[in-house]
């Protein structure tokens, strides 16, 4: 297959070069059968960014059933309630297809946002990526 010319910073979805490329805001890699996603933006605030991220994550899990997705928040120092809504939407879609979602490496200030909204009860959150990866069934 021909090599795709990619704009600087964008990453093609692993294993499916015919799909639309993910926005430059996400860094996607594979660990066995788990999609590992890192956020390049430290601030997940802007509505347009949030929508694009949500779409890219949705596309990622739409490729097959029982998707395994890890979201690594190491780089994130701000997010808004709209971003939380996007994450819940991703979570709902993954649940629908019997997939698994984990969140990891969330900084204390951001973790507090999850706790105030009680979303720490909805998401499976781990302090480190390694612990999150080990938790997948």
């Amino acid at each position: 297959m021909r090599a795709l010319a990619r704009p600087v910073g964008s990453v093609a979805l692993a294993g499916n070069p015919d799909m639309a490329e993910s926005p430059s805001r996400l860094s996607i890699s594979q660990h066995k059968d788990i999609h590992v996603v890192e956020f390049k933006d430290s601030k997940i605030l802007d509505e347009i960014n949030i929508t694009e991220i949500g779409q890219a994550l949705g596309d990622l899990v739409a490729t097959r059933d029982r998707s395994k997705l890890l979201l690594d928040f190491a780089n994130v120092d701000h997010l808004s309630s709209a971003a939380l809504g996007m994450l819940i939407n991703v979570n709902n879609r993954i649940k629908e297809q019997n997939g698994q979602l984990r969140l990891s490496s969330i900084r204390p200030q951001i973790l507090e946002v999850f706790m105030i909204t009680k979303l720490n009860r909805l998401f499976r959150i781990f302090p480190t990526r390694a612990e999150a990866l080990a938790s997948f069934e």
Partner: protein
């Protein structure tokens, strides 16, 4: 934990948690005019269109002042998050992105306190009627957490003009 406090009724004026007398020095004058002679920080007023880019400019202006005033990392985080939520609420939910409607912002920042008031020109809403987003049955909902975050992170939050206007105070800690 960033200052949980301060929810009051929709009629406004009844702010909870009045602090020590020293905070009175940071209160804005009743007529809202800038009062540099008394040593109080200036009151800034601006009116913006109902679009996100204009909202972002307001955030930048306020956050620059916050940084210059030497606010703590924790208080700065709280203000940034709250501003995001409050401006999105005014622009998107209050004014419904209507170009004919504006958002009015007033703020004053001094080293001890930031005071921010945001008002939209929409129909308003009943604060008491907003469901609790932390209730089990609401956890999976995509929306409805902005006000909870504002009220959790600011030292005081007062709603008035049937929800169109919100006055928020954050003490630097």
């Amino acid at each position: 934990m960033g200052g949980r406090n301060g929810r009051s009724g929709a009629k406004g004026g009844g702010s909870a948690g009045r602090g020590p007398a020293k905070r009175a020095a940071a209160a804005k004058p009743a007529n809202g005019a800038a009062n540099p002679g008394a040593g109080a920080a200036p009151l800034h007023r601006m009116t913006i269109a109902s679009d996100f880019a204009a909202g972002r400019d307001v955030q930048t202006a306020i956050l620059d002042d916050i940084e210059r005033a030497g606010f703590s990392e924790e208080a700065s985080f709280a203000i940034r998050l709250t501003l995001e939520e409050a401006l999105i609420n005014a622009i998107k939910h209050g004014n419904k992105l209507d170009p004919a409607k504006q958002v009015h912002v007033e703020y004053r920042v001094d080293p001890r306190t930031a005071e921010i008031t945001i008002e939209d020109e929409g129909p308003g809403f009943d604060r008491a009627a907003i469901p609790d987003p932390t209730a089990q049955e609401n956890l999976c909902r995509l929306h409805g957490r902005g006000i909870l975050l504002m009220e959790s992170y600011m030292s005081q939050v007062e709603w008035s003009r049937h929800g169109r206007r919100v006055r928020m105070v954050k003490h630097n800690q």
